[in-house]
């Protein structure tokens, strides 16, 4: 039925286009001078129809589900919902839905069968009204647009105004996204803070979000102090940066200044491949190759190494960041004017001296900006740590131990069944909020450095 609504809209808008265009051409052939060419008259009808009707259909589709559900639930016999929590209510709704979809398991209660029938009826009704609404709207707009066609009508300006409006809307989507992120995170975090005090979250040294098994656990509902989690994140990020920055920087310097052309022609695309590998692949690489290698190396040295060390996750993340750092360093080095290089070389500097004493200091802001963005990436990186780091929060700085990170906790807390009223789920959003804020501060800072630096040489 939705497809039918869209089809009607499409046909109607094309018809409106043809109608208006024909009318405008008629006026021109009648000898009058059109203000706008007939094509714009057609486009005017087309856009005037497409834009509002699509909006109406989309809003309808978004609201239809929840509204129909609410109607079904409110029509249930009085008393069936008493004393049930949201999870159980959802379960009943799902059962009613699957019955109305024709998948019946066992012998459902008669009131459920009735509700399923009700649901199917409502859905039918909703779909039908949507089609009718679409057709009516299209017809009304078509008539309106048709009577607009006159020699004086500024169709081009009207069309351009609509297109401008659309483009402004597109640009504002970015703001909507940010607003959406901030409000959703803030809302759930607020809910979380009603259950767990802010001071415990920010300064607590224990993170045990699981449902308590023993009575002597730190807090009856689990412990929600994020310090060990962020500490784990910092350990892994540090390992990654310690590996990525020197390797990335040195390869950038080598490729920029010393490498023969042929090596550069091969190396740059290879680095791009390294940059394009999805992080889930790096995560698998970490558990398949790197972690066992580190463990057996540790064993041969007589050191006991945890199975999912911060070192394994961090070093694989470091490899992931190498192309990122090296491309930023390359940009920064190439932005230094050639005159600087020539000046140093003409004084008799070797190329190494030129790079280290002149290019590198001049490129430092760009490189630092890139490294900061890499830090923010490492903090927000999810799949590698979900697969290769630990699940238990561990208050340690030793990279050979297993630690957990903010992103690991978010994913493990939310994977599987989620209802929005227990502290476990809400804790994930609180962690998400902290993650967003930390990376936002780093990003703004880093982007500012990078941009300022680019302006300095433009």
């Amino acid at each position: 039925m939705t497809t039918l609504a869209f089809a009607i809209l499409l046909m109607a808008s094309l018809a409106g286009y043809a109608l208006n265009r024909r009318a405008a051409t008629g006026i021109r052939d009648g000898g009058a001078r059109l203000h706008s060419v007939s094509n714009y008259h057609g486009l005017y009808a087309l856009l005037l129809m497409l834009v509002p009707v699509i909006v109406v259909i989309l809003i309808w589709l978004v609201l239809q589900g929840p509204v129909v559900n609410a109607m079904v639930m409110s029509a249930l016999p009085a008393g069936t919902m008493d004393g049930l929590d949201t999870g159980q209510v959802d379960l009943i709704l799902a059962e009613i839905r699957s019955i109305s979809g024709g998948r019946i398991f066992g012998k459902p209660d008669p009131w459920k069968l009735a509700a399923a029938e009700h649901l199917a009826d409502l859905r039918q009704l909703a779909a039908l009204s949507l089609v009718l609404l679409t057709a009516l709207l299209c017809l009304a707009i078509m008539c309106f647009a048709r009577q607009k066609v006159t020699a004086e009508f500024r169709a081009r300006q009207a069309v351009e105004r609509i297109i401008s409006g659309l483009m402004i809307f597109c640009s504002v989507v970015a703001i909507f996204t940010t607003v959406g992120i901030v409000t959703s995170l803030a809302f759930e975090t607020y809910e979380f803070l009603r259950l767990v005090p802010l001071s415990e979250f920010l300064f607590g040294l224990n993170w045990e979000p699981q449902i308590p098994i023993r009575a002597d656990q730190i807090a009856a509902a689990g412990a929600f102090g994020w310090i060990p989690v962020i500490l784990g994140t910092i350990v892994i990020t540090l390992v990654a940066i310690v590996i990525a920055v020197p390797i990335g920087l040195l390869s950038a310097i080598y490729l920029f200044e010393f490498a023969p052309k042929r090596i550069r022609a091969v190396a740059k695309p290879l680095l791009e491949i390294l940059a394009g590998v999805p992080t889930v692949v790096y995560g698998f690489f970490a558990i398949l190759v790197v972690a066992p290698a580190i463990r057996s190396f540790g064993a041969s040295m007589g050191i006991s190494v945890a199975p999912n060390t911060a070192l394994a996750a961090g070093s694989v993340m470091g490899i992931m960041l190498v192309p990122f750092i090296s491309s930023f360093a390359d940009d920064a080095l190439s932005a230094v004017p050639r005159a600087m290089r020539d000046g140093a070389l003409a004084l008799g500097a070797t190329r190494a001296e030129m790079v280290l004493n002149v290019l590198f200091p001049a490129a430092i802001p760009g490189i630092v900006g890139g490294a900061l963005l890499a830090v923010s990436r490492a903090i927000g990186e999810t799949m590698i740590v979900v697969m290769a780091a630990g699940l238990m929060a561990n208050l340690t700085l030793n990279p050979l131990e297993s630690v957990t990170t903010v992103t690991v906790q978010i994913v493990t807390l939310l994977i599987g069944d989620t209802s929005f009223d227990n502290p476990k789920t809400l804790a994930a959003f609180a962690l998400g909020m902290m993650l967003f804020l930390v990376t936002l501060v780093i990003n703004i800072f880093a982007l500012r450095i990078v941009r300022k630096y680019r302006e300095a040489y433009d």
Partner: protein, 265 residues
């Protein structure tokens, strides 16, 4: 101008410092320098003039092997400084460039302090044994660059904060700090205003006491004002080379005459 003439007369007494034979330069497929022979005299200002794209800058950059830094550039032929072949395989361009300083078209001080700019060359080449030594070299170079009085109170201010003319004199001071024998200047005044140009030209004239100066310029007036010998390049060839007053008053070649009287260029 009278002073200038007085010195001009004894130019030929000076020995040959740089001698180039059959020099050819290719930029990829472009034949940029064709068979250039020239002898440049010691402690003389030699000007290279010619229309843009004639190869004068390219030839200049052969003398300190700056063309080596461009991948597609090939240099053939024989260039000698004091009879040392500078394109010999055993010659280290790093060492050569300590001996042959260069000043560029646009002033290019490093984004460091004035002091560090001048001290950079002596530092990398290990010319100063102590801090006091370095201070002395810096002061001497800045004096030779005729900029000491203007900057002596702010040696640790950034070199990029100076005016264009000051920056260029700072670059000259930086170039002489390694005590080179030859100083190459690639249109050193083209980015400067007339007053700064006059100051730099005056400086060039005093540099002749110690250094062999080769200057590329697109301004014939400048060539006439500062040089004793002039070489005219056209389409990659050296057309005419002789005493400056000779070239400007009595050119031998028709092309030189056309250029000087403003018909080509």
């Amino acid at each position: 101008m009278d002073d200038l003439r007085a010195i001009t007369r004894d130019v030929d007494i000076n020995a040959t410092k740089i001698s180039a034979r059959r020099v050819q330069v290719h930029y990829g497929d472009t034949h940029a320098i064709k068979n250039v022979d020239v002898d440049i005299k010691e402690r003389t200002v030699t000007a290279f003039i010619g229309p843009s794209g004639c190869g004068k800058s390219t030839f200049l950059r052969c003398i300190n092997r700056m063309n080596d830094t461009i991948d597609i550039c090939r240099v053939q032929g024989d260039i000698r400084i004091d009879s040392d072949d500078i394109y010999d395989r055993k010659v280290d361009p790093v060492q050569l460039r300590a001996r042959v300083g260069m000043v560029f078209q646009k002033p290019n001080p490093f984004p460091k302090s004035i002091y560090d700019n001048v001290a950079y060359g002596p530092k990398i080449h290990g010319l100063a044994r102590s801090k006091a030594d370095m201070d002395e070299i810096v002061e001497r170079s800045l004096r030779r660059g005729a900029i000491w009085d203007e900057v002596k109170d702010r040696l640790h201010a950034p070199g990029t904060g100076l005016s264009g003319g000051q920056q260029q004199r700072l670059c000259i001071a930086r170039a002489v700090a390694t005590d080179p024998e030859v100083l190459l200047m690639d249109e050193p005044c083209s980015a400067l205003d007339p007053i700064a140009t006059a100051q730099v030209e005056e400086l060039i004239d005093t540099l002749r006491e110690k250094y062999t100066v080769v200057i590329v310029t697109h301004s014939m007036q400048q060539a006439a004002r500062v040089s004793q010998k002039t070489a005219f390049f056209h389409l990659g060839s050296l057309v005419e080379y002789s005493d400056t007053d000779e070239i400007f008053t009595n050119p031998k070649d028709r092309r030189t005459e056309s250029y000087i009287s403003g018909r080509i260029g």
